[in-house]
Amino acid sequence: MTTRRTLLAAAALAGVALVSSPSLAQKKYDPGASDTEIKVGNINPYSGPASAYGLIGKTIDAYFKKVNAEGGINGRKITFISYDDGFSPPKTVEQARKLVESDEVLLIFQSLGTAGNTAIQKYMNGKKVPQLFVATGATQFGNPKEYPWTMGWQPNYQSEGRIYAKYILDKHPAGKIGILYQNDDYGKDYLKGLKDGLGAKAASMIVAELPYEVADPTVDSQIVTLKSKGADVFFNVTTPKFAAQAIRKAAEIGWKPVHLLNNVSNSVGSVLKPAGLEASKDILSTGYIKDATDPTWKDDAAMKEWEAFMNKYFPDGDKTSSFTNYAYTVAQSLVQVLKQAGNELTRENVMKQAANLKNVELGMLLPGIKLNSGPNDFYPIEQMQMQRFDGERWHLFGPVMSGEIGGS
């Protein structure tokens, strides 16, 4: 144990030294990196209640296969080690420790879920191992002062909630808002964002806020209540299955509110189509990634590239799910960071480069949306744009908006 700790300390010192005198010619490695490989760890729920997200891990794996087949990153191959935590925090802790202490990865990338990431945050920061681009939009993962080794990626839920609030205040200032939300941190973050955005008007405008549990068979009862309470603005904070149920039930009982659907569930192929395209007409949402099932991007060059990748490296993958293009894009972000890190593959430098993304454009991001981060800004993507569904495809409208949570 002592030997490893001294090594680590030595490596950290070396990293500090390099920061002050940037001579990049020299090669520097922390555990998990060498002349030939970079070990990247990952934790995903391949089983259990959230197993739908397992697709993200599988797509990332496929993408790194592509990177390796095309020569790797600065000549080094990525070894992607991904474990299942079944969406259970104790298992997340076990798997994170396995990755860090047994597999000795350079960093853990895209570990999924708020609870799991909260469970390992202290450990990762104590060990000074990057917990990079976590797969959750909870606001607590962009706090470089307290947790310099943890960084988010996607626009955080609270910012998105604020964007909807802005829209409501602008277009429906007298609206009566009904909210359906998942009873967990994700649902509550959206709720907080919306309420903060509405400010003093929140109390008078919100007529009902109803939670549901993942174990609930349906949300029919909640939809019926929201309609009876006279809500004419519907803020729908649900995961894909419940989003589809809510959209269909609302159409079935003839409730036609201004429907604001959270970004989590705005995939045409895996939510709107199952719910019914007619019933989904006029739904509003926000986006930052191109939706592969939206015909708008049929001839888009980046989309074609993505399709070619899917056909070659992940032919069994579900192309209608938005998770595949999300994963593709986040994997590209990591590749960008590792490229920037060059030959200095220390944990310190990985974090430094992750916090040094400047106007990075990735093909699958919506036009005008770029990755930006800094030493005090651990939210790489903060921009989103509102969009309206016309029964066939999403139409972007309004300006590219940026969230107001987080630094710089």
Binding site: S88, P89, A115, A119, Q121, D184
Partner: protein
């Protein structure tokens, strides 16, 4: 171990000049020595995993006291595990209580909770009790999220707690210290369970399991004993939960799903219903076999797990403890007939 004595007394076979109970004592001491030595030779990560095995073993033992000894089913022990974990987390985080002192508190609270749950459960037998406890397990995460208690429980966010350092400047890592701490608790709890089973109370509990009507006719207060069994069982599982919170450093509603309760049940059956040492085997099973299954196939990990489980039941229908007893019995017979 009481269950083994029955056989030993009847057959009284000697293997290598020693009787069954003597072999058992020897084995116990051997296991204990190995248990004390292991953390000094393996990596911290392995130490951490073994600590979790012991924690699960305590929880499974708790379930075993209810099912194996008293014959009541429970699919809801994740609830008591959660109560224990939250008690410790809240005491440590909100009130600054030292971790060691939270264990007895967690135990007592679970004893009361288990006893109270046992009262209505009295009227429910077999299947109905299984359903009521199943419902309890499914409802647990929702109860933990309840906004009324959010001030203490942290709601959906859960509570992060600090890992304790070894006391008195002992030259151990945090993981090694927690391992020994857990081992000490485990030894106490296992010994207590063994005494309980062979005591008057234990015999009453077993009488209720084997023939409730006869037990009643003999003047055993079945209602009291059954509720008590529920309470003690919950106490064990709650202490395990408390240890789990300290080792994992985090509690959240998602940690205590129905799936955890099912794991305890699987661990109990695989280890051997009614067997005290079997609980350790059960704990190791639910800790390591899912990882093993994941190595075989990522996409079908749980299918592999299911197949392993079925095979285990086929090969050892009475669990590991029953299997060992069977093999030991055969060995003894072969040895004595060769003489």
């Amino acid at each position: 171990m009481a269950a083994r004595e029955d056989i030993a007394e009847v057959a009284a076979p000697r293997v290598g000049g020693l009787t069954f109970p003597a072999w058992q004592r020897l084995l116990t001491v051997g296991v204990l020595i190995v248990g004390l030595a292991i953390p000094l030779f393996v990596r911290n990560f392995t130490v951490f995993q073994l600590t979790l095995v012991m924690i699960y073993a305590i929880a499974i033992l708790g379930l075993n006291l209810l099912t194996g000894i008293n014959g009541q089913f429970s699919l809801g022990h994740s609830a008591f595990y959660a109560i224990g974990a939250y008690t410790t987390a809240i005491l440590m985080d909100r009130f600054g209580v030292p971790y060691a002192l939270t264990l007895p508190v967690a135990g007592v609270i679970c004893l009361i909770a288990g006893f109270l749950f046992g009262l209505p459960a009295l009227r429910l037998e077999g299947l109905y009790l299984a359903l009521a406890t199943f419902a309890l397990a499914v409802a647990t995460p929702q109860l933990l999220k309840l906004s009324l208690f959010e001030r203490w429980t942290g709601g959906v966010q859960g509570i992060v707690i600090v890992k304790p350092d070894p006391p008195f400047g002992l030259p151990l890592s945090q993981d090694q210290w927690l391992y020994y701490f857990t081992l000490a608790v485990l030894v106490v709890m296992f010994a207590a369970a063994a005494r309980l089973i062979s005591s008057r109370t234990g015999r009453a509990l077993k009488a209720i399991r084997d023939n409730p009507l006869a037990a009643k006719a003999m003047g055993i207060d079945t209602a009291l004993y059954k509720s008590l069994a529920f309470g003690v069982s919950a106490l064990y599982t709650g202490v395990a939960g408390a240890l789990g919170a300290i080792v994992i450093q985090f509690v959240a509603p998602d940690s205590f799903t129905f799936f955890l309760a099912v794991s305890f049940l699987v661990g109990m059956v695989v280890g051997g219903v009614g067997s005290i040492p079997g609980a350790l085997i059960g704990g190791a099973f639910i800790m390591f076999v899912p990882n093993l299954a994941e190595q075989v196939s990522k996409g079908l990990a749980w299918a592999v797990y299911g197949v392993i489980l079925i095979l285990v039941i086929y090969v050892m229908p009475t669990g590991a403890a029953g299997f060992v007893r069977l093999v030991a019995g055969r060995v003894a017979r072969v040895v004595s007939s060769n003489r």
